[in-house]
Symmetry: C2
Subunit: 346 residues, 2 copies
């Protein structure tokens, strides 16, 4: 009836005795440090295995003495989503200092590869770990790899550089996010046929391009009654998005759905309402003060969201686990694609 999930609490000393060596040697083996005869290593490893020994993290943490430092390299300029991530990091400050973890925010132009790369290179040696909202570009990849080689733990945040040797990516699968958006628009349109508009920041941004790709996949294969219009590039600006969309709405009376891939949400909503096209199914990204209001008003029908609080905390936890050499709880750190509608607003 009762089943236990944990084992006895042995210590390094117990293992040392059992393997017939000293504390220091066990410690060396535990951390794969050099200077131990292969045979000794084996004996110690066996003792560790046999007892499924787990070193006490609190003791290890205390003994190191040195505090750990992490850097978050984020886009400069106002971006509500990034501000949310920063705010959630701020909420963790008590948690962080109780663990003697220092987190620093570094603002940089993440859209300029050489600037971003330079910012990263400048960090070398100063931090135990770095989380970076990265641009997928060869120069950036090289900078990331250099940091990795220098022993810094690297996590890409929100936007990945899969070709680099970063240790972990904290963010969503944007193709799947686009597919989800497509399925929502298609289903919520409810069998009517007509045209579907897409407003994106820029197709040059990897995440936007991937979302559009996924969206089109689903449209083509599952909703033959809907035809997708060419992508409008609003550069994530309200004014430009509004203007482009207003023009498009004027030209097509049969637009039944709209996918807003990035920001510029205010402009998109305005264009819809001024054209009196409130019936258009409107799906966008992220839960902000604005999208929350639009969802409640019924202007937006759904938002695809990647929980910024979760991303912030996951990035910290992953960096910490990497720095400590602890395993990562993959399931816990995986960022889900949230579908947010009026009734499940967080």
């Amino acid at each position: 009836m009762a089943e236990t999930l944990t084992t006895a609490a042995l210590t390094l000393k117990d293992i040392a005795r059992e393997a017939g060596v000293s504390l220091a040697t066990v410690d060396r083996v535990l951390h794969n440090r050099p200077g131990v005869r292969a045979d000794t290593v084996r004996r110690v490893r066996e003792a560790i295995e046999r007892n499924s020994f787990q070193p006490h993290v609190a003791a290890a943490e205390l003994a190191r003495g040195r505090a750990r430092r992490f850097a978050f390299v984020m886009p400069s300029g106002p971006n509500p989503f990034m501000q949310q991530i920063e705010a959630y990091l701020g909420e963790m400050s008590g948690w962080l200092s109780a663990r003697r973890l220092g987190v620093e925010m570094i603002a940089t132009d993440v859209f300029d590869a050489s600037v971003l790369a330079a910012s990263l290179e400048a960090l070398s040696g100063d931090y135990d770990g770095v989380a970076v909202v990265a641009l997928d570009h060869p120069t950036v990849r090289a900078a990331i790899n250099d940091l990795v080689d220098a022993g810094t733990k690297i996590v890409t945040l929100v936007s990945d550089v899969p070709s680099s040797r970063r240790h972990h990516y904290v963010g969503i699968d944007n193709i799947a996010a686009g597919r989800t958006a497509g399925a929502l628009v298609g289903r919520l349109v409810g069998g009517r046929s007509g045209k579907v508009a897409i407003v994106a920041g820029s197709q040059g941004l990897r995440d936007h391009a991937e979302r559009i790709f996924g969206f089109n996949q689903v449209m083509a294969s599952e909703f033959p009654g809907l035809s997708v219009l060419p992508v409008l590039e609003g550069r994530d600006e309200d004014a430009r998005s509004e203007q482009l969309l207003a023009r498009l709405l004027g030209r097509h009376a049969d637009i039944v759905g709209l996918y807003n891939v990035g920001a510029g949400t205010q402009g998109v909503a305005k264009a819809l309402s001024e054209a009196g096209r409130d019936k258009v199914v409107f799906v966008g990204h992220d839960v902000t003060a604005l999208t929350r209001r639009l969802l409640l008003q019924g202007v937006m029908d759904a938002a695809i969201s990647q929980n910024p609080g979760h991303e912030a905390r996951a990035a910290v936890r992953v960096l910490l686990a990497l720095a400590r050499g602890e395993p990562i709880l993959r399931e816990q750190e995986k960022i889900r694609i949230d579908i947010v509608m009026r009734d499940n607003l967080p």
Copy 2:
């Protein structure tokens, strides 16, 4: 450009010096232990405030020596959702033992108030914290309050006892979950009018009753074209659910939507397919091997889910924070109502 989120790393000793007292006294004040003159308390508190001192959790944890023990009181009998929670706890075993945390599973009949209450009473004194899938009943409430009075930290899991003095509830708002289900059924039906069926385990279960309540709210206020049929009570059994639903489908040719509130999903799916009513919009709860398959096949249209992995980890983290006297990261521990469709299956 760089902004730091943490403060200098003072120690108890620094505070002691600054307040002109010894280590032991600061420790007493920090933990509100008796035996310190009011005036001394004030002086120490001020020194702590002034430096926004945070004790080092690792050091505290190490010094206590004693390991912490938590119990999870869960329903006996096979229940895929509960099994998932157990599995996720199992995945944490390394994490747990590295922190010298012991977690024990205790199976009991959580649907029988007196049996459940007895199981809880039996735990008194043996555990630092208890997570319990609770029935909302006066006897159970009393048992919970007794444990709380004995100093045990209590978290209700999945199913709450709001009238008790439990320290925390880890689970979703079931009324909002029902509303979300209602909005989905209504929207996915796509403007057609007709009838909507509800299959529940039992209306006597608080969570089922709340979900139905929320579902009906939305139906009544937002989808006047849809009329909700009387609730079928399938007792979460496949055979019974299938039989009841088959009969209902036979009687109403104009059923366009279906909300499956609890388990019995297999039976519900079977009744639909055998009646050839695959077009009915089908929304249910939880992502299991079965619902995953049904979503992929297009039989189910959406599942409302409460992430069992998150619930398991949140329960452990909350119990740990409570036991340590650390603050709880509310945002992190809040369980969201996930809408899962084919393309955002986790």
